[in-house]
Structure formats: structure tokens, C-alpha cells
């Protein structure tokens, strides 16, 4: 598979994560002067997003990310997002983190599947980056970092031939194969069927560079058209209006990858796994048994070693964010979560004894997320201190 897929996967999933967290934090927003100590304010929200974005776009981290490499498993990638989500004062329990990752993944699967051309996955990435820049308008240093990543994307992907993008698309779709989690907002918008499969429309504009189907042209030896026949096509296509911009700034035209959540369309809690048929279980039955392979652990150590976690000034409690509106919903989700979707914390006993992996074991040890409404100040400090030492 393509060895240039990871940056696209990571940045787009990261973008979706930020959309969801932003919307969730807004939903729990309390005006600053009225907020109690354990409630979220606008200032807190901006700070969380800032912290996560600055961790995501850290130079060393980006350097590792952009190295040509094969895609790692969903489990390995999930570990990176666990850490990213905790790059701030925000805390998510296991159930909320599970749900967050499922939402991110299904959203990106939808976007990749519906990309008109394979190259348009780049436009989807640009949509995410444009929105990320919107979150950090008042931080010129951060904006600069994001722009650097933009330029790197343009440099690497801007000149790639169509065949390479086909391979990238196939690689991404292989990553998302057999995921059929039903997402409320998709079901409501009728972009997903009740069996978890996405709707593929057969009407609307054709992709840029493709002709509307329905015409047969025949030529003689001189290259002159001698006959023209139309055939019936049950799709209802029209010509593409214009091409999206692949520049640093511009109208992307494509809506995939823009923020679909808003105050009026909140991140909903109802999600269910795939229906209990043979097909949905095949992914697990065919794949070899998992603990993370040695190479994956090395990759994680390298990648997360490049993550700089900012330590907030002075002792401060961590704030719990819940992706569920009620405790009952959360319990229900945990109970009904299909077995094959459980993202257990990595079994560190499987790690061979290596210097690098001792470090990783330390990172992993932090991910025991307990169900506490608030960290005590000292506990929060210890955690952050550990992350800082890497």
C-alpha cells in the first residue's frame, strides 16, 4: 500500500476530533463569571483547543509523521489520539474516548468514500486545516506552525500523479474496511443507511475532469468523429461547476471535511455497532492475534517522543469532559459496545525488553483513565511531569 498515507489519515482524524471536542465544549459552556470551579468556560474551551493543536503541529512530531511509512493498525493510531486528547487540562474517560474515536473514524470513512476524485482527499485535508486555523485565530505562532504543515502537504502531495492518489485512496479504504458504526447525525441526514453503509448518490455534479456519462463517440483512421450515439443512463449527473483550490488559501468547493457539527446539530450520543452478522466479525477472525507488533511500538515511541506536552503554570485541576449527556446513556453505550470495537489499553507485557519500549511503557502507564470528576492538583501535576520527561 501507499507509504504516504499516514499524514493524511492523522491530520483528517485530528481535525474531526477537534470539531467534536469544540462542539461538546460549547454545549457545556457556562458564562465565565457564573461558572463554578468544575465547569467549562469559553476561555477553557479555547485553551483546550490551543493545547491540542499546538501538540498536533509540533515540528518534531510532524517530522516523524511525514516520513514515508506504512499505515499502522487502528489500535496503534488510537493510542496516539488518546495522548493527543489529553494534551490539555481536559480529561476523557474510557467510554467517551471510545465514542470520540468511533465518531472521528466514521466521519473520515464517509469523507474518503465520497471524495469525487482520489486527489480530492487533499481538499478534505485542506478543509480540516482551514477550520483548525479558525480555532487559533489569536495565536500567530500556532497559525505559522499550521501553515508550515500546509506547505509541506503541498510540497509532497501537490505534484503526485493520479495513480498515486488511487493507491492512497485504496490504502485509506483498507484502513476503514468493515467499520459500519451507525452515527445519529449521518442517519438523520440520510447519508448513512440503517445497516451502517453510506449512501452513494448517483446524481449531482460529476468530479472535475470527468465527463457526464451517456455519450459514445466513434472515429475514423484520421481521428475525425464519424458517429455520435447517446445511451441511457439511470444516474442523473451534471457537469462539474469548478475545481477546488489546492493553494494555501482558496475556495475548496468541496464540502467534505468541513465542520458538520454546530449548536443546532450537536454531537449525538446514539451510536451502535455493526449488525451481528458474519461479515462484521470477519475483520477480527481473519486478522492475526494482537498485541501490537514490535514495529508498531517503535513507531509509537518515535511519534509520541516528538509530542511536547505543555505544562500549565501552577497547580490546576483537570476538567472532565463527557461525550454523553447522561450517565445512563454512557452506561448503555458501554454495555452495548460490540466486542470487536473495544480498544483495550495496550498490553505492555507483550513488549520485548528494549530501552525504547521502556519509555513507551511509561507513556502507556499514564493511560489508565479513571472515572473521576476532577483530578486533585497534585495528581495532575505528576502526570504532566511524567509526560514532560520524554
Amino acid at each position: 500500500m501507499s507509504v504516504r498515507t499516514l499524514p493524511l489519515l492523522f491530520l483528517n482524524l485530528g481535525g474531526e476530533m477537534l470539531y467534536i471536542l469544540d462542539q461538546r465544549l460549547r454545549a457545556q459552556n457556562i458564562p465565565g463569571d457564573k461558572a463554578r470551579r468544575d465547569e467549562w468556560t469559553e476561555v477553557d474551551r479555547k485553551r483546550v483547543l490551543n493545547d491540542i493543536i499546538s501538540t498536533m503541529f509540533n515540528r518534531k512530531f510532524m517530522e516523524e509523521l511525514f516520513k514515508p511509512q506504512e499505515l499502522y493498525s487502528k489500535k496503534a493510531l488510537r493510542t496516539v489520539y488518546d495522548r493527543l486528547a489529553h494534551a490539555s487540562i481536559m480529561r476523557l474517560n474510557q467510554a467517551s474516548m471510545d465514542k470520540l474515536y468511533d465518531l472521528m473514524t466514521m466521519a473520515l470513512k464517509y469523507q474518503v468514500l465520497l471524495c469525487p476524485r482520489p486527489k480530492d482527499v487533499l481538499l478534505v485535508t485542506f478543509n480540516h486545516l482551514d477550520a483548525i486555523k479558525g480555532f487559533i485565530q489569536d495565536s500567530p505562532a500556532l497559525l505559522h506552525l499550521v501553515d508550515e504543515t500546509f506547505r509541506q502537504l503541498l510540497e509532497i502531495y501537490g505534484g503526485l500523479p493520479a495513480g498515486e492518489f488511487h493507491l492512497i485512496r485504496q490504502t485509506l479504504l483498507a484502513f476503514f474496511q468493515d467499520l459500519h458504526i451507525r452515527v445519529s447525525i449521518f442517519l438523520k441526514d440520510r447519508v448513512q443507511n440503517s445497516n451502517g453503509r453510506f449512501v452513494l448518490p448517483v446524481s449531482g455534479p460529476v468530479p472535475w475532469g470527468i465527463e457526464v456519462p451517456g455519450l459514445i463517440r466513434m472515429f475514423n483512421t484520421k481521428g475525425e468523429e464519424v458517429k455520435r450515439v447517446e445511451f441511457q443512463h439511470s444516474g442523473n449527473y451534471v457537469a462539474a461547476p469548478k475545481e477546488g483550490s489546492f493553494e494555501l488559501y482558496g475556495d475548496r468547493v468541496l464540502k467534505l471535511g468541513t465542520n458538520m457539527y454546530s449548536v443546532n446539530r450537536p454531537v449525538e450520543t446514539h451510536m451502535s455497532g455493526p449488525s451481528n452478522n458474519l461479515a462484521s466479525q470477519t475483520q477480527q477472525s481473519i486478522a492475526p492475534p494482537n498485541p501490537l507488533a514490535k514495529e508498531e511500538l517503535n513507531f509509537l515511541a518515535r511519534l509520541m517522543g516528538g509530542m511536547e506536552i505543555k505544562k500549565p503554570g501552577g497547580p490546576e485541576p483537570g476538567f472532565q469532559l463527557n461525550l454523553f449527556t447522561t450517565d445512563e446513556e454512557e452506561e448503555q453505550a458501554a454495555l452495548s459496545r460490540p466486542e470487536e470495537l473495544s480498544y483495550e489499553v495496550v498490553n505492555i507485557q507483550a513488549i520485548q525488553d528494549q530501552q525504547r519500549n521502556k519509555e513507551l511503557a511509561r507513556i502507556m502507564g499514564e493511560f489508565e483513565i479513571t472515572d473521576q470528576p476532577r483530578w486533585s492538583a497534585s495528581k495532575g501535576d505528576d502526570l504532566l511531569a511524567m509526560m514532560d520527561e520524554l
Binding site: 500500500m1 501507499s2 507509504v3 504516504r4 514515508p68 506504512e70 499505515l71 499502522y72 493498525s73 469525487p116 482520489p118 500523479p161 493520479a162 495513480g163 498515486e164 488511487h166 485512496r169 485504496q170 479504504l173 483498507a174 474496511q177 468493515d178 459500519h180 453503509r197 449512501v199 452513494l200 448517483v202 460529476v206 468530479p207 475532469g209 470527468i210 465527463e211 457526464v212 456519462p213 455519450l215 459514445i216 463517440r217 466513434m218 472515429f219 475514423n220 483512421t221 481521428g223 464519424v226 458517429k227 450515439v229 445511451f231 441511457q232 443512463h233 439511470s234 444516474g235 449527473y237 458474519l278 461479515a279 470477519t282 475483520q283 481473519i286 486478522a287 492475526p288 508498531e296 513507531f299
Partner: protein
């Protein structure tokens, strides 16, 4: 399921198709091109199907009504690398004295007896001068005479000499005419009197090369691309049928390389083409959820190739990734789709 049929004088016998019973798969089909291989065994009243899932491929045999009889899973042979090796294609090669099953992956080429029971040959891909940004893989499988030809990521086509029986397969030649990765290869027995078979290779840039097979393969015609990958290719009576990433099907004369027909067939990249050579029927399938059937013929006046549309089938909400005729007269065909754990079957009423 939506069917659309063209107007015009047509053989009414093949106008309408109905959906037959699907054949369940153990694993869903991967989003690859040409992701369905069919081996027709009319004498034994059996049809074999081959579908790639990812690190494994599934072979199954079915009776005429689609009743599955036996199945087997093959895995890509592991080699050095981070993630499990992924299979790119599985394809049956019908040679003069035997039938072999070829499986291509990111590590190499595996050749089996036709039922997949025994691996008779393994060829590991040579990294050669691959740069770290290039993914290595083998892709594109066809047989010509007693040779099996397999394409690679670099554009090289490996030609293997196959003995009448036994595992003594030898790499006899490497064809180096393509600048980018091979996407598909097709062949058919030659029309001339010298009994040389013709073969066409296609790549990511859309370039097509027509070859004359033999102890040494000879490049006879080069058909330049136009910046769009040619994802699937077929050969029929001196005509190359090529499907492209822009949804077009183009028909060229093999001897001259001249374009005679251009069809705006699909709204997304074409993923598979297949031919029923006895009747000159062409099947095209694409990511736009549509499968179309075309009738190829020669114009009585000019002698050039012509085409007319026979039938269109929409497979709702399915990104089709493979399509094949299931019988020589083109009366039935099978389809696979990304994420779909079944083989869809259609036959004419």
C-alpha cells in the same frame, strides 16, 4: 436495483437482467481494481470465484444456481515489513495444458494449483532501485501461450515460463516498456496464422503496450496515455478495450494504435472490464455503483470497431470493485463491491 436499457435494434434475449442469489463471502472485498476472478468450468457445471479481502483472498466454487460448494482462504506470504502483507490481485490463468492460480501481493507472486491447494512457486519482489517513497507490489496478471505475465510497481512485467506440469517455473524475461506501475494485463490468442498470442499491458499513466508473445516478447504497438491511469484492459479480435480513472472506456485498434471509440461510460474511475469473447460483449464496472454491458462489432463499411450499449445496472450504495462474466455467452455476470461480504450475481431473463 435500477436497470436502464438502450433503445434500438437489439437482441431481446439479453435485454433484461435480474438479480440472482448472492454468494456469501467470509471477508468483505477490498477496494482494489479488478477484484474478482472467475474460472468457468462448464464441463463440471461449476464456477470458481476469487476475491481479495486484504491480507487474505477467498476462493470458492459454486453450482449453477449460486449454491456455494467449497471455499478456501489463501494468505499473502509474509516477508520483511511492518504491517501484514496485502494482496493486490488474484487471477486464474488458463494455459494450454494446465490451469494455475496466481496471487500478487506487496511482497511477491504466489502461484498455486487451480484449486489453491498447493503453492507451486513463489517469487519474491526485488526492491532493486526502489526509493523509500515508493510502495512495492506486484499487480496485473495474464497468461499468453505457455507464459504467465505479472506486472510490478516499477513498470516491469515479469514473464514466467510454465512447464506442462510440475513446479519448475522459470522467470524467462523482464519487459521494461512502462515508466510507472502496471495496473492490468490482458491477452487473447492471436488472430494471425503464426499462432502467436497478443498481449496488452497498462499502467498508472494510461500508457498501453501491445505485445506479441513468444520465447521473446516483442513490443508491437505503443498507445500513449493522457495523464489518467488505465485501471483495466481487455483484448478482443485486434481491439484493445481500456477503462480509465476518468470513467471512460476507449477502444483502440491493436495494429495501428488508433482510437476508434470513446465512451463516457461512468461518473467515477472504472475498476473492472471483462469480455465474453464468443459474443463480443464487454462489461464495465466503476466506483459510481454502475455496471454497464456493451456489444462490440465491426462496421461492415469501414471494418472499424463499433460499440452499442446493451444494459446498465445500478448496485445501490456500492463502490463496485470487480465484475466478470460467468459464462461464455455473456448471459450472466458477477459483481463485488468494497466492504461487501457477498458476490452479487445477475443473469438475463
Amino acid at each position: 436495483m435500477v436497470a436502464a436499457d438502450s433503445e434500438g435494434r437489439k437482441d431481446p434475449g439479453v435485454r433484461m437482467f435480474r438479480r440472482e442469489r448472492s454468494i456469501p463471502l467470509r471477508g468483505s472485498a477490498a477496494a482494489l481494481c479488478n477484484n474478482l476472478s472467475v474460472l468457468q468450468l462448464p464441463v463440471r457445471n461449476l464456477t470458481h470465484f476469487g476475491v481479495v479481502h486484504g491480507p487474505s483472498a477467498q476462493l470458492l466454487s459454486a453450482a449453477p444456481e449460486g449454491v456455494p460448494l467449497a471455499q478456501r482462504q489463501l494468505h499473502a506470504k509474509e516477508g520483511a515489513g511492518v504491517s501484514p502483507a496485502l494482496i493486490t490481485q488474484v487471477h486464474w490463468c488458463v494455459l494450454p495444458f494446465r490451469v494455475l492460480l496466481v496471487l500478487t501481493s506487496h511482497r511477491g507472486i504466489q502461484v498455486y494449483e487451480s484449486d489453491g491447494s498447493v503453492m507451486v512457486y513463489w517469487h519474491a519482489l526485488d526492491s532493486g532501485d526502489a526509493s523509500p517513497v515508493q510502495a512495492m507490489f506486484a499487480r496485473g496478471i495474464a497468461c499468453s501461450g505457455h507464459f504467465i505475465c505479472v506486472g510490478t510497481w516499477s513498470g516491469r512485467v515479469l514473464v514466467f515460463d510454465i512447464p506442462a506440469k510440475g513446479p519448475n517455473i522459470v522467470l524467462s524475461e523482464e519487459l521494461a516498456a512502462h515508466p510507472t506501475s502496471i495496473t492490468d494485463i490482458a491477452s487473447e490468442p492471436a488472430q494471425g496464422q503464426d499462432c502467436m498470442a497478443d498481449m496488452v499491458t497498462a499502467d498508472d499513466s494510461g500508457l498501453l503496450c501491445v505485445w506479441q508473445s513468444g520465447p521473446k516478447f516483442k513490443l508491437s504497438t505503443r498507445i500513449p496515455g493522457f495523464g489518467v491511469p488505465c485501471t483495466s484492459v481487455q483484448l478482443w479480435q485486434g481491439t484493445v478495450a481500456a477503462g480509465y480513472g476518468n470513467g471512460q472506456v476507449r477502444l483502440y485498434e491493436t495494429s495501428t494504435g488508433i482510437l476508434h471509440v470513446q465512451i463516457n461510460a461512468h461518473a467515477r474511475a472504472i475498476c473492472a472490464l471483462d469480455l465474453a469473447p464468443e459474443v463480443g460483449k464487454l462489461l464495465s464496472a466503476a466506483e459510481d455503483t454502475f455496471v454497464h454491458m456493451w456489444k462490440l462489432s465491426r462496421s461492415p463499411e469501414s471494418g472499424h470497431i463499433e460499440v452499442e450499449h446493451c444494459h446498465g445496472e445500478c448496485v445501490p450504495d456500492t463502490q463496485v470493485c470487480g465484475a466478470r462474466f460467468c459464462d461464455p455467452s455473456g448471459r450472466s455476470f458477477a459483481v463485488t463491491g468494497y466492504d461487501l461480504a457477498e458476490i452479487l450475481r445477475f443473469s438475463s431473463v
